[in-house]
């Protein structure tokens, strides 16, 4: 790769990782809001229309985006461990490092729950699945927000190219 520097290459990967995460965050938040606060009357304002989306249609997209974002993150993680984490430790950013580790744990839990999440959403009319479907979606959404914000803060502390 002589047409691009190593730093630029990894920065591009990080940006793709971030863009995938934003798409995932949008889809999952939309779905979680719709399932946690369902609209029973015809949509009126922006907030009501936001809540009124057909949630089931998001399930496959959420699974695909979660896996793609995970793969990109796992790829970048090798360089993070060597070029980002060591300087952060030398600077004494222990809490930042700890929260990044927590982010890896939480995103892994989400990965493990994707098959059952997809299954529950592929059976949207099965009433006994309603509660698990709703709360699993909300938990995945909270994990996604936590992971996204932690990654964002870490990139502010020391991103690729710094």
């Amino acid at each position: 790769m002589e047409f691009i520097t190593i730093n630029t290459f990894w920065t591009i990967l990080l940006i793709i990782h971030g863009l995938l995460a934003i798409a995932l965050l949008g889809a999952l938040t939309h779905q979680a809001v719709a399932v946690a606060l369902p609209v029973r009357a015809p949509a009126a304002g922006f907030i009501t229309r936001y809540r009124a989306v057909p949630s089931a249609g998001y399930a496959t997209a959420v699974c695909v985006l979660w896996v793609l974002t995970f793969i990109m993150g796992a790829w970048i993680y090798t360089k993070y461990r060597y070029y980002i984490r060591i300087p952060l430790e030398e600077l004494g950013y222990w809490k930042t490092v700890a929260f990044f580790d927590l982010k890896e744990h939480m995103v892994s839990f989400g990965l493990g729950m994707l098959p059952i999440y997809w299954y529950l959403w592929k059976n949207p009319r099965v009433a006994p699945f309603d509660s698990a479907r709703k709360w699993l979606t909300v938990v995945l959404c909270v994990i996604c927000w936590f992971v996204f914000l932690t990654g964002h803060v870490l990139n502010n502390a020391r991103g690729f190219g710094t």
Binding site: R81, K95, F109, G112, I116, Y119, A127, P128
Partner: protein
């Protein structure tokens, strides 16, 4: 007096049969999270990865002098996926009446329960 196995309408409404994939997915998810927590606490990676030298080693291996840090996370993920797939596949053979006894709520409760456990493992960094 004969014992009956009939269920009340209310009980019947709270359970629904899972397809073979449903059983797999439910048990896979539960096993994945439980196994992940065990891996972190016990230090059970399937393999260790040395990013500076791009070297893999089976099982748990400490960082080597002059070779930079060692990573276990990939080894945990792969091990959890393998164990989860095995238990999930076995779960597809479970009769419906047994599979229905596995609470679906575990799918969202387990990650919440695991959160403080993970925080506990990071206390060394958080309180430094």
């Amino acid at each position: 007096m004969t014992a009956t196995t009939t269920t009340t309408p209310a009980a019947a409404e709270t359970k629904a049969p899972l397809s073979a994939f449903g059983k797999f997915a439910l048990v896979f998810g539960i096993t994945f999270v439980v196994m992940y927590v065990l891996c972190v606490f016990k230090g059970w990676p399937l393999f260790s990865y040395h990013p500076a030298t791009n070297r893999f080693a089976w099982g748990y291996e400490l960082a080597r002098r002059g070779e930079g840090p060692v990573m276990y996370w990939y080894g945990w993920i792969v091990l959890c996926a393998i164990v989860g797939s095995i238990t999930g596949t076995l779960a597809t053979f479970l009769p419906d009446r047994i599979a229905q006894r596995i609470p679906l709520a575990l799918t969202w409760i387990l990650p919440i329960v695991a959160l403080p456990l993970m925080l506990y493992t990071l206390m060394g960094l958080l309180t430094r």
